[in-house]
Structures are given as structure tokens and as C-alpha cells.
């Protein structure tokens, strides 16, 4: 039934194309190509300065081009900027914008649009959620605190096509930062004209491959090809429909019925089933993320590093990755995920051992610490925010701690807001589940989780002045290789204390129809529609 219906519409489409063929010969246009993209949820905003989640980034990266952007393989490429140079001290970046760069309304893209955007981002009035990401820019922190006016920000337009950004100190990952969706430019005139409403269809002016056509919250977002885009001839789809497929199990069924060309996220429990059914349409790729258990290092027995190591060693991460996460994960023995360029992570002894060796060691350690069978009972409560993967992970880990260390483990779940509020307000806990997704591909973006002055996400309350000093030193080191070495040493120090127990690195989960080409797995999990083409 489905097949015949599809072929019927297929015939209709062929007929339509034939009817239009004469017209097509003259105008050079071909049939409209629509890319139906399941996007895992509704954006909370289309304002690049309020954005905080990946589904927003997916849309914004189609609408706008930043100075730099990720290509289909996740490599940094020039976008709105054609070229750039960095001063010898690593503090001043000068960008040359594309001569033919245009906004969707035909206005030229000017350096002042970027200046306007950065100032708005850091203006405390804007209350941008990700403002802190741009603190490496000179005076950014002070501006965001309201201590300096936005005009004092270290971003200025030399002329219409030249932009100069000055940093507080050399920041080797700054180019990576510029690919973030919060670093996208704004069309100054329309923002000034419409205020908060500049994001509405009809008002929104963008400089990317697509422009906004319709936004019906919770239903769809329609973006259409931007004829003014500098590379418009290489953009192969005319329309992208973003569907907020929040119920991922239902989205899988819609994908299987042919209602979606690609879909972001599917239930991890279904991975094996989907692989059998859909084969290579299931795409999983490691990306910059980590799942870990924070231990409360101020509370006995977790203040004893031997106990923390024992807990870590007793976890069979291969089982977690292969079974609990269905293969869509990689065992993690340290904080930084693989795939960070130029970074050589420290050797972690446990990573090279077999699980039985780890378990033997765990038993020794816990015995030496005075816990376990015949000694003080080891009572552990694992806190996690409610979802199936977290529940299955906690269940498996509890079983491992019980069987290897003889621990008494209880689980406690709460909704995500209660969970993180509890951790951030320094609630009393033993072990708490947390996750982190890198904002940019640099080890610093993972290692800062253990800084003692990180008031928000150092859930373990880990405090190590030597560690803080190493990270500070890395910030001040301009030489990339030397800096990476320092960060590697810092990570080794962190893992020696192991205030958090790394579990696994997650994989991104996509379904990609065989009709789609130009889709590449990448560690950034960035998939811009401009590279996609759809076979009829």
C-alpha cells in the first residue's frame, strides 16, 4: 500500500517535471528538492545569543555563516571570512571578509555586523547564556559584568571587510570557538528595527546558505535556499524542513515510513534492532562528550583516593559501552574524549589492562582502605537524572560494585532540573551522574570541570592547587605543542586523584536515508544542510 502510494506520487512528480520541462530549459531551474530533517526537538530560540542546545545550532548553522565554520567532515574551514592572520604574540586576529558575502536581503556582509553581534552577545542586557564562552576576547568578562561599556570590547571593524579581534591572552582554541553558533553575525539594521522580534520569519535576515521561511513552534521550521549566498550554486537542496521529533521512538517509525530523510537521535535501546533492520542507514559516531560519575570527594569514604580508584576499576566499561549503550559508546578511562587534534592524552594504566586485573586491583584497594567484606560496609547511593540510559547505566554499575566490592548500592533518580540544582547547590550526595558535551574541540574544555574555582560544574568539589596552577599555565602558554603537553600532565594529575569516574564517551545517533548523500559522520556532530543532496 505504502509502496504503491509512493510510486503514485512518484508518477505525479515525474509528470509534473515533464510538464515543466520546457520552462526548466529556459530558466535553468529543476524540480524543488526538499530535505525533511528530523531535529530531535524544538529550538528554544533562533537568537544566536540566547541559544544553548544542539538542535538550535543545527538550524542556526544553516541560516548563518560565522567567520569560520565546520565542513561536512567537521574540519574548520573559512566561511564568512576568506582569510585571516594572527599576530606573532597570538593575541590579535585579523579577518578578511569575503568580497561577495551578502545577507539574504542583498546587503553586503560587513565587519561591523560582526562587531555588533559580539557586543550584543556580551552586553549584560542581552543576558546571553553562553557569554562566558567568549571571555577570551579582550574586556569580554568586564563588559559582561557591566563594568565596561560594550564599545570597549576587543572586536573592531578596520574597514567594511576587515575585522580585528584582540584577545586577553593567546588562546590557541580561539578559531574553534569562532565556529560556535554564538559567534554568528547579526544583520545590524534588522535587529535594530525589530528588536526581540528580529528572529521571526519575514524579519530574520541571515547570511548563510538558507533563509528562514516559516516557523511554527513544535510543528516545523522551513528554511529555503538563499540566492544571495556566495556559494549558492553548490547548495543542492531548495528547502529544508526541520521537524522537532522529540519522541525519538515515534521518529524512528516516521523515518522508516519514509516521512523523514534524516533524523537526529533514536532510543539507544533500539540500536541493535535498527542496525538489523536499516543497516548502514544507522549512523553512530563518537563526538565530543563524556558521561561520568562525580564522587563527593569531601565525604568519607569517597575522600579516600583508593576508594575512588577501586570504584572506577570495578566498572566494566566494555559492558557499559557494548550492552548498556548498545555499542553507541566508547569506554572512557580519562576525561578528554578521543579526536582532539594535536593532543596526546596521558597513559592511563587501567585502560591497557583486562577487566579481571582491574577487579583484582579494585579489591586490593578497597581492602587497603578498610572497606568491604569483613570490614566497614561500603554504602553507596547513586543519584541520576531520569532517563532510560541513565537508569540502565546505574543499574549495571550498581551490580558491578555489588559483585566486585561487596558494596551496598542504592539508586535515586529525579528530574533533570532537580538533579542539577541539587548538585550545583552543593547538596549532599555520594555518587552523581553527570555529562558534558564539549563546546569546542580542545582538552581545556573538558579539564576545566575540575578547576577549584569552577563554582558550577565541579560537582565533586575537587580542590587541587597544583592542578589549578597547571591549567592556568596552559592558558598562558602560546606555543601549541608545549601547551598540549601541560594539559596532558594536568589530565594525568586529575586521573591520579580521580575525583570523577569517567564511564563512556557517547556517540551521536543519526538515521540517514539512502537517498541522502553528502552526509558525513564527524566528531563535532555538525551536519550543515548545504552539503546535503537528496536523490529523488
Amino acid at each position: 500500500m505504502n509502496k504503491s502510494w509512493q510510486s503514485l506520487t512518484g508518477y505525479l512528480r515525474v509528470g509534473l517535471v515533464a510538464a515543466l520541462a520546457t520552462g526548466a530549459l529556459i530558466t535553468g531551474a529543476s524540480a524543488e528538492v526538499t530535505y525533511r530533517r528530523g531535529n530531535a526537538g524544538d529550538p528554544k530560540t533562533l537568537d544566536q545569543h540566547q541559544t544553548s542546545i544542539d538542535v538550535e545550532a543545527n538550524i542556526l548553522r544553516d541560516l548563518y555563516d560565522g567567520l569560520l565554520a565546520y565542513d561536512s567532515r567537521g574540519k574548520v574551514t573559512p566561511a564568512a571570512a576568506a582569510s585571516w592572520s594572527i599576530s606573532p604574540d597570538g593575541k590579535v586576529y585579523t579577518f578578511k571578509l569575503r568580497e561577495n558575502g551578502k545577507w539574504s536581503n542583498g546587503d553586503p556582509v560587513k565587519a561591523s555586523d560582526f562587531v555588533f553581534s559580539f557586543r550584543r552577545m556580551l552586553d549584560p542586557q542581552t543576558a546571553a547564556r553562553y557569554a562566558a564562552l567568549h571571555y577570551p576576547i579582550k574586556n569580554a568578562r568586564a563588559v559582561n559584568r557591566g563594568e565596561l561599556p560594550p564599545a570597549e570590547l576587543g572586536v573592531k571593524a578596520i574597514d567594511d571587510k576587515t575585522l580585528e579581534i584582540t584577545l586577553e591572552q593567546p588562546t590557541p582554541y580561539f578559531l574553534e570557538l569562532l565556529t560556535h553558533q554564538t559567534a554568528l553575525p547579526l544583520h545590524q539594521a534588522s535587529v535594530e528595527k525589530y528588536g526581540k522580534d528580529f528572529v521571526r520569519p519575514g524579519n530574520l535576515v541571515s547570511n548563510g546558505a538558507f533563509k528562514l521561511s516559516e516557523f511554527v513552534p513544535s510543528d516545523h521550521i522551513k528554511v529555503v535556499k538563499n540566492p544571495n549566498y556566495f556559494d549558492a550554486k553548490d547548495v543542492k537542496v531548495d528547502t529544508v524542513m526541520f521537524y522537532p521529533t522529540e519522541d525519538s521512538a515515534a521518529a524512528v517509525r516516521r523515518f522508516m515510513a519514509g516521512e523523514l530523510d534524516t533524523n537526529y537521535q533514536f532510543p539507544i535501546d533500539q540500536l541493535n534492532f535498527l542496525k538489523q533492520k536499516l543497516g548502514s542507514q544507522v549512523r553512530t559516531a563518537p563526538y565530543l562528550s563524556i558521561e561520568y560519575y562525580a564522587t563527593n570527594v569531601q565525604k568519607p569514604p569517597f575522600n579516600d583516593p583508593r576508594v575512588r580508584h577501586a570504584l572506577s576499576l570495578a566498572i566494566d566499561r566494555d559492558f557499559l559501552a557494548e550492552k548498556t549503550w548498545g555499542g553507541a559508546a566508547v569506554p572512557a578511562y580519562r576525561m578528554t574524549p578521543p579526536g582532539l587534534q594535536n593532543y596526546t592524552p596521558p597513559e592511563i594504566a587501567a585502560a591497557g589492562e583486562t577487566q579481571l586485573d582491574r577487579e583484582d586491583k579494585a579489591k586490593e584497594l578497597i581492602k587497603a582502605a578498610g572497606y568491604g567484606p569483613g570490614q566497614k560496609p561500603l554504602k553507596i547511593e547513586i543519584r541520576y537524572n531520569t532517563n532510560d540510559s541513565n537508569k540502565n547505566t546505574a543499574t549495571a554499575v550498581a551490580d558491578m560494585w555489588k559483585s566486585v566490592l561487596g558494596a551496598e548500592v542504592t539508586l535515586l533518580n529525579s528530574d533533570i532540573k532537580s538533579h542539577y540544582a541539587y548538585l550545583q547547590n552543593k547538596g549532599d550526595f555520594d555518587i552523581a551522574r553527570a555529562g558534558w558535551v564539549g563546546d569546542y574541540a580542545d582538552p581545556q574544555n573538558f579539564l576545566f570541570l575540575g578547576l577549584s574555582d569552577n563554582a558550577v560544574s565541579n560537582y565533586s568539589r575537587y580542590k587541587n592547587p597544583d592542578y589549578d596552577a597547571l591549567l592556568k599555565k596552559s592558558d598562558e602558554t602560546g606555543d601549541q605543542a608545549a601547551r598540549m603537553k601541560i594539559l596532558s600532565d594536568a589530565e594525568a594529575m586529575f586521573m591520579k586523584d580521580e575525583p570523577v569516574i569517567p564511564l563512556i564517551y557517547r556517540s551521536s545517533l543519526h538515521l540517514v536515508s539512502p537517498k541522502v548523500s553528502g552526509y558525513e559522520d564527524n566528531v563535532q556532530n555538525v551536519h550543515r544542510s548545504r552539503y546535503i543532496s537528496i536523490a529523488p
Binding site: 535501546d269 533500539q270 534492532f273 535498527l274 537508569k391 539508586l411 528530574d415 532537580s418
Partner: protein, 377 residues
Amino acid sequence: MSDTALAPPGDTSASAGRSLATLAILRLRRNRAAVVSFIVLIAITLFCVVGPWLSHHAYDQVYRSYVGLPPSLSPYPAQNTLEDAMRGALDRARIGMRDFTISGSTFRVTLTSPNPIDPRNTRYIDRVDQFRDAKVVATEDGGKSLVVEGTVQRQLFLMGTDLAGRDLMTRIMVGGRVSLLVGLLATFVSLVIGVSYGAAAGFFGGRIDMVMMRVVDVLYSLPFVFFVILLVVYFGRDFVLIFVAIGAVEWLDMARITRGQTLALKRREFVEAAHALGVSELSILRRHIIPNLLGPVVVFMTLMVPKIILLESFLSFLGLGVQAPLTSWGVLIAEGANNIQNAPYLIIFPAIFFVSTLFALNFIGDGLRDALDPRDR
């Protein structure tokens, strides 16, 4: 509700020495569907209460080799999967193998490695759920090959295992304890509150009714999620709170229905007659109104049980209610619904128990209504 509350209308002396309860039970006994349902309900209850003690599996035991197994009448592991299981076990020790044979319930395998093998590596074989008692029976090649023998461990998972590798049947039993308790007790709590409140509002009428029903409106409109979250925050995760949370919302519908019925009843002849005879308002309410309400109330009660059992799973989501690894039917069904395509048995088996229980309750409810009918005497 005491026996006197169930006295028939106009009948002030529990006549002929037979109390109303005895009468009702007698009549109920004649209803075949109700009797069968009663037996089914008792069977399911016994299955849930006694079952976990008889089961070979603990409800929280994780079989890491048996994640997401479909139901089967024959024990796992299947014969043809054993070699792969052995290879998987040895892969983790980074050791090769050859000559894997099975005879009866014992296996024999030769471990191979370019370097001498530590005999302790047999623990890797014992580690998987398929094998146990692995021991070295011969050493060859100066320790580079070991011949190992041991027992194949067979386990029965009649209803399969869940996606964490736990026996589904045992989990259904344990979950049933929670759900039956919550379903019946919370329903009863809501029923008592709802019926008394609704009957009072409808009976007194006028301004009192107005105020009482506006209170119901207020409670109905409050955001339930926050109510639950606050309960957890201020009172911990006590099991009793489940009844408080459910009771707090579920009596509202009951109250509205009862109140509506009462409004109609109080204009009926026998109530007006009682009024004329000077019977006190309270005893009219007790002897005439409430007994006549029982029909729709009993029907509605049987509709409430499934709602409450499922509501419990939402409470678990918010951290109130059962905590993993403990489970309930509501939680099992919610998990099953997520995997309806890839593992349909995860929803089918809990649903069978859930649905049969509710069918039984429905028939008992219908039977009760007939048995208690004040007119049919």
C-alpha cells in the same frame, strides 16, 4: 464504610437477621463471572506475592550475558551460541581458542596464546553466565595452550530478560506487588474521600455545594508535577507518599460524580419521605444517599484502578514511587512501550497481567454493584 451505611432505603431494621453484607456476599456468589474473576485475582496476587521466593532469579540480578533475551520455554544458552560465548569470554582475556566441544552439560576447550597463559585466566570463562567451574585439565606447549573443562550453566527465562539483563518474569511478580497495593489502596483512599466529599456537597447543596466544588476546581487546576516534586523535597521518598500524591488528585473526579448523583437523588421520593418523617440529615445521607450512589461509584472505581497504576509510573519518573532496581507494572509497561518495535515481549507480558487483573476487577465491580443494588432485593 460500616455495614449500617449500606442499609437499603427505607429499611431501618436489618431484616430477617441477615446482615446486608451476608446478603451481598450470597448474591455475589451466584454471579459466575465475579467468582471466576475473584479466583483469577487471587491467583495473580499469589503469583506476585509468593512468586519471587520460588523464582530462580532475583528481581535485581543482572545477567550480563543475557541482555534483552526473547522469551523461551527451553533454557538458555542455546547449544549453537556456546562457542561464540566462549570466544567472547576469551577475547576479553586476549586469548585465542580451538577445539571447543560440548558433551552433555560439560564443555572442553583449548586456550591458545603466543605466550604462556596464566591459569587464572579460567576466571574469564566463569565470568560469563553461560559457564562455570572452569578448570585446567592439561597444559601443552610449555603453557602456551591450556585444555580447560567446566560446566555449562543453564538458565530458564520463560518471559525473557529486560534490556538490563534481568529476568522479566520475576520483575513482573515484584512489580505486581507494588502495583496491586498501590492500585487497590490508593483507589480505596480516593474513593472514601471522593464519595464522602461529593455526597456532602450534593446533599447540602446551595452555598456549601458551591464552595466545596470550587475547592475541587482549585485542586484540579494546580500543576500536579510540582505538587509531586515538592512532596519529594519536603518529605523524602517515603512509599506512603505515593498514596498521598495519588489520593490528592484522583478523588476529584470521584467527588464530582458523586455530587452529581446526590443532587439527583435528594429530590427522589424516598429521600423526601425520610425528610418528612424527621430523619436527621446525617442518617439520610448515610442510609439513603450513599447506598444508592454505589452503582456508578463501583463502576467508576474499576476505571480508576488502571489510571492509578499507570500514574504511579509517572511518579517514579519524578523520583517519587518505586526506585530502580525495584519496579512496578506501570514502570514495566512504560519501558515496554518504548521498545514496542524492537522487543515487543517487554510490553506483552506485563500487559497480560495488567489487563487480566483489571478485567477481573471489572467483573467483580459489576457483580458487586448488582449485589449491592438496594432495589433488587
